[in-house]
C-alpha cells in the first residue's frame, strides 16, 4: 500500500499536480496566529552502556525569545566514549575519545508562519561534521493543521586515527589521516492534524541522499582466501579486506511515519507510532512504538513506552564472502537485525511558585533497556587472535559456526528543565 502511495506521489504524471495542490493550500487559506517555542533551559546527563561501549556526558540547551518575532536556541552536547565493542574486539584495540557538538538556531515568527535556521558542528578526533538546516512551518484551517517543510545539508570530513610507537597500538593515536568527505541532503515534509478534541495525528516524510565516503575506515570484511581456491570451501582460510574501496559512494533513503496521540478520559495520553523505511542499499525496516503518559496528582508524571524495530540486510552485506565482490560490507548496522526497547520515565514538578527569573521547572529520570538481536552478524571474537603474528587464520567452517551476536544496552537520562 505504502509503495503504491510512494509511486503515485513520485510519478512524473501526478507530482506537478500534487505540488500545485500543496502550494495552493499554503497560499490560499485564512491566516491565524502561531506561537514561538517556550523560553526554557535543560541540563541533561545521559548514559549508555551496552555491547562493550560506555557513552555518557552532558547536554545543555537554552532557548530565549527576543521581542515578539524571534527566538534563539543554543545547545552544547558531549559524548564521552569508552569503546570495546565487538568490532573493536575482533579487528582493533579498545579506545576512548570524546565527541563535542554545538548547535545554534533561530526562529522567526510572522503571523502563522515560522521560519527556522540552525547550524551544528560536531567534532571528534577522527570525524568532523557541519550541519546547516532551514525550515518553514505554517498553521492553517484555524490552527487545526500545521504543515512543515525542512531542508538540511551535512558536510562530513572523515579521518582515520593511526596508532604507532611501542606497543604498536597504544590507546592514544599519533596521527589522524584524512580518508574522505561525505555530503548529505535531507528533505522533510511534516503534517500535523487535529482530528477531534482528544486526538491529534502527525504524518512525516524524510528523504535523505548521501554522496562520498560512507563506510567506517576501521572496519573490514571477511572473505574466503582467494589464494586458496582449490581447497574445499569449508577448509579455506578466512582473509580480511578493509571495507575502503568496497562501499557504494551514494545512498538514497525514504522514511514515512504516522503517529497519533489520544487524550484518555482520565487525563492520560496514549501515543502510537509506525514508521517504514527503505533505501537504495536494499535495507527495509518497520518500527512500531506505543507510549502511555500518566500524570499522578499535581506534581508527578509517569511514562511507559515499548518500541519494536526490525530491518533487512543491505544487499552487499555478508558475514562472510566466498568471492570478492565490487561492493562488500560487514557492518552490523547493515545486517538483518531487530531491536526491542522497554522503558519508563518519571518527572516531578519543581519551582511551582516560581523563583528568581524562573516561572517553574521539572526534574526527569528515564531508563530504557534495549535488546539488539542480529540475524546474520555472527560473534567472531573467538578468532580475534588471528591478529597476532604466527596465529593460524580461522577456516570458513569455523567462521560459519559462530553464533548470532546479540546484546542488551541500558540507557539512562537525568535532566532538569526550567521555564522563564
Amino acid at each position: 500500500m505504502l509503495r503504491k502511495i510512494k509511486q503515485f506521489v513520485l510519478s512524473p504524471r501526478w507530482s506537478p499536480y500534487l505540488i500545485t495542490l500543496a502550494t495552493a493550500l499554503v497560499i490560499s487559506l485564512p491566516l491565524t496566529a502561531a506561537i514561538l517555542p517556550e523560553d526554557r533551559a535543560d541540563a541533561l546527563y545521559h548514559s549508555y552502556e551496552g555491547g562493550g561501549a560506555e557513552i555518557n556526558g552532558p547536554s545543555i540547551m537554552a532557548r530565549k525569545q527576543l521581542g515578539q518575532h524571534f527566538s534563539f536556541l543554543a545547545n552544547y552536547y558531549v559524548d564521552s566514549i569508552s569503546s570495546a565493542t565487538i568490532d573493536i574486539e575482533t579487528f582493533a584495540s579498545p579506545y576512548t575519545e570524546e565527541r563535542t557538538q554545538y548547535t545554534v538556531a533561530g526562529d522567526y515568527l510572522n503571523q502563522n508562519t515560522t521560519m527556522s535556521l540552525s547550524f551544528t558542528n560536531s567534532e571528534e578526533s577522527d570525524y568532523s561534521a557541519d550541519t546547516y538546516s532551514l525550515g518553514i512551518s505554517h498553521n492553517m484551517f484555524g490552527d487545526l493543521t500545521t504543515v512543515s517543510l525542512g531542508f538540511t545539508k551535512n558536510e562530513d570530513n572523515i579521518r582515520r586515527n593511526e596508532y604507532c610507537g611501542q606497543p604498536a597500538k597504544s590507546s592514544e593515536p599519533c596521527r589522524s589521516v584524512s580518508v574522505g568527505t561525505a555530503d548529505r541532503w535531507r528533505y522533510r515534509l511534516d503534517l500535523s492534524q487535529i482530528l477531534t478534541k482528544n486526538f491529534i495525528v502527525n504524518l512525516g516524510y524524510e528523504g535523505i541522499t548521501d554522496e562520498g565516503y560512507l563506510n567506517n575506515p576501521y572496519r573490514s570484511v571477511a572473505v574466503a582466501d582467494p589464494n586458496d581456491p582449490d581447497s574445499p570451501d569449508e577448509f579455506r582460510q578466512v582473509a580480511f579486506i578493509p571495507e575502503q574501496g568496497h562501499y557504494p559512494e551514494t545512498r538514497t533513503s525514504h522514511a514515512f511515519a504516522v503517529r497519533g496521540k489520544y487524550y484518555l478520559p482520565w487525563r492520560a495520553a496514549l501515543k502510537g507510532e509506525y514508521r517504514t523505511f527503505s533505501d537504495s542499499w536494499g535495507i527495509a525496516s518497520n518500527l512500531y512504538e506505543v507510549e502511555i503518559t500518566q500524570p499522578i496528582k499535581k506534581n508527578w508524571t509517569f511514562d511507559v513506552h515499548y518500541r519494536s524495530y526490525s530491518q533487512t540486510a543491505a544487499s552487499f552485506y555478508s558475514n562472510l564472502f566466498m568471492d570478492e565482490k565490487v561492493y562488500m560490507a560487514r557492518d552490523k548496522e547493515l545486517a538483518a537485525l531487530s531491536t526491542t526497547t522497554l522503558g519508563g520515565a518519571v518527572s516531578y514538578k519543581i519551582l511551582k511558585k516560581g523563583w528568581w527569573i524562573f516561572d517553574n521547572g521539572s526534574v526527569h529520570l528515564s531508563y530504557d533497556r534495549i535488546r539488539l538481536d542480529y540475524v546474520d552478524f555472527l560473534d567472531e571474537t573467538p578468532f580475534k587472535s588471528y591478529q597476532n603474528p604466527g596465529q593460524p587464520l580461522p577456516t570458513v567452517a569455523e567462521w560459519k559456526s559462530a553464533k548470532p551476536y546479540s546484546f542488551t544496552a541500558n540507557v539512562m537520562q537525568f535532566y532538569i528543565s526550567v521555564w522563564y
Binding site: 541533561l44 500545521t146 482528544n198 535523505i208 487524550y263 507510532e273 525496516s285 524495530y309 528515564s366
Partner: protein, 74 residues
C-alpha cells in the same frame, strides 16, 4: 502540463478563498490538546538524544518526528 497545473492552482485558490474552511474543533474545545502530556515532543533535548542512540545502531534514519507543533493550542 504546465498550463494544466496553473489552471488547477487558480481553481483551488479561488474556490478555497471564496468559501473558507471552518475549524471543526473550536479553540475553546482544545483544552485537552493543550495539555503538555499531549505534545509529541515535550522534551526536545531528550528526544534528540533518543534519535541519536537509535540512528547510530540501526540502518534506518529520518522521519523521527520531534518537531513538535501542530496542536495549534495558542
Amino acid at each position: 502540463m504546465r498550463i494544466k497545473a496553473i489552471t488547477v492552482l487558480l481553481c483551488i485558490v479561488v474556490s478555497t478563498t471564496a468559501c473558507g474552511i471552518k475549524p471543526w474543533v473550536k479553540p475553546y474545545e482544545r483544552a485537552n490538546l493543550a495539555d503538555p502530556i499531549m505534545s509529541f515532543s515535550p522534551n526536545p533535548v531528550s528526544s534528540a538524544y533518543y534519535a541519536h542512540v537509535y540512528e547510530a545502531r540501526e540502518g534506518a534514519r529520518g522521519a523521527e518526528g520531534g518537531g513538535g507543533g501542530g496542536c495549534g493550542c495558542n
